[in-house]
């Protein structure tokens, strides 16, 4: 009897072992598969960046002759010369210029869009539907055709050749995209916490600052991220509104040398492209941890 029991326990233990091992194996296979797919697709995603970086170290003649990543004879010429530019200014100036557009723009966007989205998502008021429709409508018209009237408007405001046209409209929640995005996120967050804060004596503004903003953080971070990236890349806006070379942002300075009707120095341009992408990459890399640590609105566990 006792013997029986022993063996059966042994069998059970054996079983357990096997199951544990099987589960471990499955786990391993799953992990390998996951990483495999991630790396493979990731390479496809990264190919252009890698090529770009590689090419920026190639001498001009090699850039198009050799589609590989690794330069045959690496040179940092592109960076050195590119940084100097053909203007009296170096890229330092252009980067500083870019930041003096990006920073007010991001701050303005974050503040105004959050407030407006909060207004749309949490309040009832007259004309709400009309205003929301107007918001969406501004997204839908191709801006090619509003460019000239807008230019005339800013001309009359005396804002030409300043950075104002580039960021002031954003500071007035001009980027409907972001407002709409935050509205959608906000509507997905339950109101309980806000109600508790109201009872705690917070007015709607305090609720916004202390409750809504923290809960909205992952979305807000993406808004800032997008605004950063898109402003860094924006070429047409500065092209039209900024005439003085000393006020050029990086995006414009980058294309300064590209005259397709003439020969130009590819490696300088590529080198500067790499540098212009760098801030965006770094910012994204740093910001995305907030997506992991993002505050779950799930609240309390049981």
């Amino acid at each position: 009897m006792a013997e029986n029991l022993m063996t059966s326990t042994a069998i059970v233990a054996d079983d357990a072992d096997r199951i544990v091992r099987r589960d471990k194996r499955r786990h391993l296979i799953g992990t390998v598969l996951r990483y495999g797919v991630l790396v493979l697709v990731g390479l496809f995603m990264l190919y252009p960046l890698l090529w770009l970086i590689g090419a920026s170290f190639k001498p001009n003649a090699e850039i198009f002759a050799n589609p590989g990543f690794i330069p045959d004879e690496a040179t940092i010429d592109g960076y050195v010369k590119g940084w100097q530019t053909s203007t009296p200014y170096t890229f330092t100036t252009f980067f500083l210029n870019t930041f003096s557009i990006v920073i007010p723009k991001i701050i303005g966007t974050a503040i105004s869009c959050t407030a407006v989205a909060y207004g749309f998502a949490r309040f009832d008021f007259p004309l709400k539907k009309v205003l929301f429709a107007a918001l969406i409508a501004t997204l839908l018209l191709p801006n090619v055709v509003t460019r000239i009237p807008q230019y005339l408007l800013f001309r009359d405001l005396g804002w030409l050749d300043t950075y104002l046209p580039l960021w002031v409209p954003s500071a007035f929640a001009g980027d409907a995209f972001f407002v709409f995005m935050l509205v959608q996120f906000l509507r997905a967050i339950p109101r309980d916490m806000e109600e508790a804060a109201r009872v705690d004596g917070a007015n709607t503004f305090q609720v916004l600052i202390f409750i809504v903003v923290p809960l909205l953080m992952p979305a807000l971070i993406s808004v800032c991220l997008f605004q950063f990236m898109w402003t860094m890349n924006d070429f047409l806006g500065p092209l039209i509104y900024i005439s003085s070379v000393e006020k050029f942002p990086v995006s414009l300075a980058l294309k300064l040398s590209i005259d397709t009707t003439e020969a130009f120095e590819w490696n300088r341009i590529l080198a500067m492209s790499v540098l212009s992408i760098l801030p965006a990459l770094v910012v994204f890399f740093l910001a995305q941890k907030y997506f992991i640590e993002g505050i779950s609105t799930g609240g309390v566990k049981g």
């Binding site: 309980d192 109600e195 109201r198 009872v199 799930g298």
Partner: protein, 371 residues
């Protein structure tokens, strides 16, 4: 200064009428308990008082001020939510002190208040945790703490203790009433509206109890009155544990018949009866007000035991009488263990504790004119 008045208060969700014009006055410093079955609109009423739910009709006054259109923060209230609603991104300490910080109280006052409250609620160890790192009961206590810390004019509690264990619940119960009394003694006449579905809480904490059903108020009275003189069958059945036995009965003269069994009412009972009542009644007797009688006793009900629950010092007998179930509580020491499932017993009600209700309206017709 913190009398709370509800006048013809109404609330509809679309077509669904959740609150049907209720009237309630809570005196300054009074501890009012709202009880009622699930879904009877206790929370809805409380949320309207808090200003979280728009009023469909009627008035809410705190002090003498009409607050219908005031923001929650301006009503001088604090509230404990049924589902906690802790701020998920703040540590417990910040959750507690948020209200005070909004009022820009000095740091040391906040510090002290936080310490006091966390001592009272035994959450001092969790001050640096996030809500998601708390157990259900711990979270609930933090929610209570968040209200206590503010010492408001009117406290609103929505089942604040439902997730605490018995021991803690008992001590919290005493603490909340003590706190209330202390505030009262300090001249800060804090009014309390307390929603619960717990008998014990309702009976022990409330100065008065408001029993609700389907968005109507059934009775408002102090605990003793409510227990001894329920205004209708609903209240009678709702208050008391185990619940009062309510069985259909017919009255002819002084003979009360339940199914095939009949029972002569004593003169004492007959004297209490309203005039002109219908013969179709409901008899109500609390489980504690039966005694188990010998086979030859008169005026008893005979039934069969279907289920026995052992409750420590008491035993609950579930007895089938003429197809209707009654519960009888007997002391464990008196309990004759030979009485088990299937046995027949005779139940003798105490005449003084018999209630009779009109079967249609549910009105209690046996209150007499004593009051």
């Amino acid at each position: 200064m913190a009398r709370l008045q509800l006048r013809n208060l109404q609330k509809s969700y679309g077509d669904f009428k959740a609150v049907h014009g209720i009237n309630l006055e809570v005196e300054d410093g009074e501890f009012m308990v709202l009880v009622g079955p699930s879904g009877c609109a206790k929370s809805t009423t409380l949320r309207m008082i808090a200003g979280l739910e728009r009023v469909t009709g009627g008035e809410i006054r705190i002090g003498e001020t009409l607050v219908n259109d005031k923001a929650p923060g301006e009503r001088g209230i604090a509230m404990v939510f049924q589902n906690y609603a802790l701020y998920p991104h703040m540590k417990v300490r910040k959750n507690l002190s948020f209200g005070l910080r909004l009022k820009r109280r000095p740091a040391d006052e906040i510090e002290e208040a936080t310490r006091d409250v966390s001592n009272i609620l035994e959450i001092g160890d969790y001050l640096e945790r996030l809500p998601k790192q708390l157990s259900g009961g711990q979270a609930q206590r933090v929610a209570v703490g968040r209200a206590l810390i503010k010492k408001p004019q009117v406290f609103l509690f929505d089942e604040p203790l439902s997730n605490l264990d018995a021991k803690l619940r008992a001590s919290m119960r005493v603490r909340i009433t003590d706190l209330h009394k202390q505030l009262k003694a300090d001249g800060m006449q804090s009014t309390v509206v307390y929603v619960t579905h717990d008998q014990t809480e309702a009976m022990t904490m409330g100065d008065r109890i408001c029993v609700m059903k389907d968005g109507h108020i059934m009775q408002v009275a102090d605990p003793v009155t409510l227990y001894n003189r329920p205004a209708n069958a609903f209240v009678a059945g709702f208050i008391g544990s185990p619940e009062m036995n309510l069985v259909d009965a017919n009255l002819k003269g002084n003979v009360l018949s339940i199914g095939a069994q009949s029972h002569a009412l004593s003169d004492q009972v007959m004297a209490r009866l309203d005039q002109g009542h219908s013969p179709e009644l409901i008899l109500g007797v609390r489980p504690q007000h039966f005694s188990i009688a010998d086979a030859d006793t008169e005026n008893t009900f005979e039934g069969r035991i279907s289920h026995v629950e052992f409750m420590g010092h008491e035993v609950y007998l579930y007895v089938h009488v003429e197809g209707q179930q009654m519960i009888v509580v007997v002391s464990a020491t008196n309990y004759d263990r030979s009485k088990i499932n299937g046995d027949h017993v005779r139940l003798q009600p105490q005449p003084a504790a018999m209630h009779l209700f009109d079967r249609k309206s549910g009105e209690n017709i046996s209150l007499g004119h004593l009051q």
